[in-house]
């Protein structure tokens, strides 16, 4: 019986390396400041009766990509009911903190190597979860606008709530955070024919650690359609920033549901073939470059971030 803890989501088949203090950023248990408590209470009161949203997991969960300083990590991996996170729509994916100064997803370092990609551009973030990373990108790189899409209604609501809070703190006349919005929906369309009426509307599309979930839920056809849709939604000169998960990580998720298991067994389109497909006439990207690989201490999260450019 596989281990279902979220700890294993990082695709690490070796035991975690012994980390010398200071060498690698450590995880920190969330401290309960009064602010946290208010928001935490607020979250608990929120109605989560929407069927799209996964049930709330138990309070503690390991933080995966955050660089946080301070207290030693909590080494006990808690059992997480991620049986219900069919879309990778984890609660607390970015940790329990609601976007304070400590938030730093390591991938931002890779993205920061080419800030001009984002400055004054119109961005789409597919699978934005609770929006933490999206918001950070919009702010840090001074995007013209950012739309975040997620299949989980509860997470989208969280993201919108975060934006509302930021608006109260925002300087009058500032672009951010008024230029950020979150939308609930499935990026995969009900039918391929709808691609006929898709239009260019974004300069950059981010698809970070989402392909596995599209693949497991909507199969090869769904993922290919999503790639085609991304291309169609980009303006000439637009870029797709893709961080695909490797296929080894799919296997442990096939037990999430019967249909996911069936989907998994039907997959023939492998992540190694993604670039070839994206560059083929069926999609139409003109070139690919490797942007970078995040310096994550856990191998499983060291996923290459690729840029595909549309002519």
């Amino acid at each position: 019986m596989a281990d279902f803890t979220m700890d294993v989501e990082n695709n690490n088949t070796q035991p975690p390396p012994v980390i010398a203090p200071g060498k690698c950023p450590e995880k920190r248990k969330a401290t309960a400041t009064s602010d946290d408590k208010t928001v935490e209470n607020k979250r608990l009161k929120e109605d989560r009766s929407d069927v799209d949203s996964a049930p709330r997991p138990p309070p503690q969960s390991p933080k995966k990509r955050l660089q946080l300083e301070g207290k030693p990590p909590n080494n006990k991996p808690k059992h997480n009911k991620d049986l219900n996170f069919l879309y990778g729509n984890y609660k607390h994916y970015y940790g329990k903190r609601i976007l304070d100064k400590d938030f730093h997803d390591i991938r931002l370092d890779v993205l920061a190597t080419q800030p001009e990609l984002f400055r004054d551009k119109q961005l789409l973030d597919i699978g934005c979860n609770s929006g933490h990373l999206s918001i950070e990108i919009a702010k840090k790189f001074d995007a013209k606008s950012l739309v975040g899409l997620d299949i989980d209604r509860g997470l989208v609501k969280d993201a919108q709530t975060t934006i509302s809070s930021l608006k109260r703190l925002a300087a009058p006349g500032s672009r951010f955070p008024y230029n950020v919005k979150f939308v609930h929906g499935n990026y995969v369309l009900d039918d391929d024919v709808l691609l006929e009426i898709e239009c260019p509307q974004f300069d950059v599309i981010l698809c970070l650690s989402v392909t596995k979930w599209i693949h497991l839920n909507f199969c090869d056809a769904g993922l290919k359609q999503a790639f085609r849709r991304m291309f169609l939604q980009l303006r000439p000169g637009g870029k797709l920033i893709l961080e695909p998960q490797s296929f080894d990580g799919y296997k442990r998720r096939k037990k999430l549901s019967e249909s996911i298991r069936e989907n998994y067994n039907s997959i023939v389109f492998r992540p190694e073939q993604f670039p070839e497909y994206l560059l083929s006439p069926e999609v139409g990207f003109a070139s690919m470059e490797l942007m970078g690989i995040p310096e994550h201490c856990r191998t499983g999260f060291k996923r290459p971030i690729q840029i595909f450019t549309k002519v």
């Binding site: 939308v183 009900d190 024919v193």
Partner: protein, 304 residues
Amino acid sequence: MVNNQSKYAMHPRNILRVPPDYTKLAIKHKDFRQVCELELTGKVSINFRNEKTLRELTKMLLKEYFELNVDFAPGSLVPTLALRLNYILWLEDMLEPLNLENVRGIDIGCGSSCIYSLLGAKKNGWNMLALESKQQNIVYARQNVKRNNLEDRIEVYAQPDKSSIFKSYFESEKLEKEFHFCLCNPPFFDSNSPNPFGGNTRNPQRRPAPNNVRTGSAEELTCEGGEVQFVQRIIEESRLNQQRVLIFTSMLGVKANVPKILDYLKERQINNVTTTEFHQGHTTRWAVAWSYQKAPLSPGTQCN
């Protein structure tokens, strides 16, 4: 009549009462898809303020729900299906207690689509006489009837002039056929007015712009004296043909014109009268029905 339904909903049997799933319909119908916009959420949305969109929408709905293939003359009025259905359903309700076989109706000014006649014939098996004066519309109407194999049910009659309603037809038609109803969408606007499409809202700031775009030629939309005079002409001609048509009806586009027509009927001692409202979305229209015979037009109406 008070019932559970919302006061401003469509007729209970109107298939558009519950908005259709346009995304599913866009997947199914290619021409309609082309005029839809795809949202990020994967749903399609429709810009009603575009003439081509309205045309493709009505075409698609007629195809989808009635298997009717309809073409509209360029520049001619694009009918909205919800309203046309509400009118047909109201007529059905009035005819139902009469237990008629072989219902015959007159469509006054059928337009290029001939939509009322097509719907009446296809949906209810009514026999329709479609009157039309504009040449281009006559051509298209006849093509529409033929294309849908309803030539045995619908006759499109070319009105020689616009001044008469029934006159030319009744004079030419030897058989003295009787009809059970007539229906009409009159030209709403007054061609004599300095600003025919101006409207007379008392509060232009508060009244929002319509959600759709106006379609149709001047000939279809305006006439001398607008809808009031047009309907008055129908009333005048009805007096000369009291036994030829059981129930006379017409739509009115402006609420303020309804009492004018009711007064006009009252002055001529036409007492078997009823009115109704058609609700579809943000738009409301009105209709008047009158009869010279003992046809019960609605519960509580005095029969003449």
